[in-house]
Symmetry: C2
Subunit: 344 residues, 2 copies
């Protein structure tokens, strides 16, 4: 493990948003924003206009707060942009849709360097570009007097391409529970950063820039997924949302989950061993990798990128792991609760 | 003028968002959110799904920061909800569209009373309801450690109903400049509140809950408006945006503007007289009433709600009032600059 390189940008007073002003900031940020394929009217007017070929639009909002969801000394500006986009793009994917555009509401202290905002814009743009999406609008305002924290509220819009949206409420007894993407890597990376280290690099990178399996969402919708959600609060918590919304019991198969997430062994085992913990704590309760969790009718091949990790049963809504209730399993691996609680 | 009644809600520790938690807050807020007519999937899933009958969607974001855009001792929670919605609904109207849904990103200190958030939700819902719109999604997170300020980022989506969007760039020499809605009332109300008073009630109410002329936007689009924008930075500043984007000179007719905004005499004259100022300062540079400013081809009747206030000419892009440059006119009436600068 190596000591971190400082990432905090130095503030050049001549380059702060206070000096450049709102319109200066917007112009600089938009210069890095790319072009949304669906945009009929892009940034710069009272509102953007996007084509919605499906006849419907998917819409979701996620808020990131400095000091809570990111730290400027742990993540570069580009990292923060990637991460803010990823949280939203994954929500859109979890409906079975593809993101077409982002809108960004930003409150930042007047001494924020414009280069930092340009970095965030570059990160947002880079995360969106492979999908043909881009930032098409937003608002940049000065943060509250006395507040030194950036607040970043990102709204993503998406297109379903003719697919039915996959809700959280459609899981049926007999369905297969399946996972796409990684679990626990972001939480592991955060544990590393919290202790002042920056390696293993793969875990830290996963925390700074999650890599959600965007294509797996529309693929699941196309393959008849009955329910789906983004894992942002942790597997047990988000499986709980599926269970409650669908009125079913979800049984996680621990061996299948280990195969899907911890094999071959890698950074999670390495860091857990160094810290004297159980990597399953991160797998079961770590959010922010933005994996996708879905249920599929049994005896149908799963689409690419999906691995079975359990089953849906009739019964009291709840989540069980190898016959143990989620809470007991989480406690046994040393996790605090079954997922992330935003106001604690 | 009467002294203000305190509006700050008392914090019941058992009712703060810290205690109720994210999901508790969301449930309580959604209970007050109404239903969007266009929603196929409403709040509670990974994302909302809205019908877009036009085949396009209009999208815009505005951010309100406590202490900068509102104060909890000057505005009730409902006022803040109304105001946050109005800023966005007016932007959508300024494209010629009708708002169908809102998404709300909210960062608030953990000791924020949930009753205050419920009030904001009720205000958002009440402002949207006449249009058939409602909040369909969002994210509520705890503010940065040490920050006591609420940040509210609202995204509005809208439908053009088959109309072409009206941009800022379409004004042509010979067009008529026209205004819909009020100017200066919000700025006048703010001047009153800043001095510790709460009357004239009409001016204070205009600051707390602006009443933009939403229907005038689609009406202007239907009547062939060549350019349009929302007046949120002040008439001179926003006319400047139209002038620059369209590459034209905009001539404001002061007598016509006075007729449109200051007759019959009312609170603006009353407060200006009491403070020894010129009410034209508020009319020319006050934002936040969210009037609409548009240009129309000459010799066509203006649609309902619109009043002529000037003309579009060929020439160096800029704004003139009775042959004087905007900056000189603003200085002469005692305004600071020509409009609102967000980072000063």
């Amino acid at each position: 493990m190596s000591r971190p390189r400082p990432l905090v940008p130095r503030t050049d007073p001549a380059d702060s948003v206070r000096v450049v002003g709102e319109f200066g900031v917007i112009a600089r940020v938009l210069a890095r924003s790319g072009v949304a394929r669906a945009a009929e009217v892009g940034p710069g007017d009272d509102a953007a206009v996007l084509r919605t070929p499906d006849g419907r639009v998917v819409a979701t909002t996620d808020v990131l707060v400095e000091g809570r969801h990111f730290r400027r000394d742990w993540s570069s500006a580009e990292d923060v942009g990637h991460k803010a986009a990823a949280a939203n793009l994954a929500d859109v994917a979890a409906m079975g849709a593809v993101t077409t555009a982002l809108l960004v509401g930003l409150a930042c202290p007047p001494d924020t360097p414009t280069t930092w905002l340009e970095g965030v814009a570059a990160g947002l743009a880079a995360e969106c570009a492979p999908l043909g999406a881009a930032v098409v609008g937003g608002d940049t305002v000065s943060a509250a007097p006395g507040s030194g924290a950036v607040v970043l509220s990102v709204t993503a819009l998406g297109d379903l391409g003719g697919r039915a949206p996959v809700l959280r409420s459609g899981a049926r007894p007999g369905d297969v529970l399946a996972l796409a993407g990684r679990l626990g890597w972001s939480a592991c990376g955060l544990a590393v950063l919290r202790r002042g280290f920056t390696s293993p690099a793969a875990a830290v990178a996963a925390h700074r820039r999650p890599t959600p399996p965007y294509a797996a969402g529309p693929a699941a919708a196309g393959a008849g997924a009955t329910a789906m959600c983004d894992v942002s609060d942790g597997l047990l918590a988000d499986a709980g949302h599926l269970a409650r919304e669908s009125g079913v019991r979800i049984d996680v198969d621990r061996a299948a989950l280990v195969r899907a997430t911890l094999e071959p062994p890698g950074p999670l085992q390495q860091v857990a061993a160094a810290l004297g913990g159980d990597p399953m704590a991160w797998v079961l309760t770590g959010g922010e990798d933005h994996a996708l969790l879905a249920t599929f009718p049994a005896r149908r091949p799963l689409p690419e990128g999906w691995t079975p990790v359990g089953a849906v049963r009739a019964g009291q809504p709840g989540v069980w792991v190898d016959g143990q209730p989620a809470e007991a399993v989480a406690a046994a691996v040393g996790a605090e609760g079954t997922g992330h609680a935003h106001f604690r």
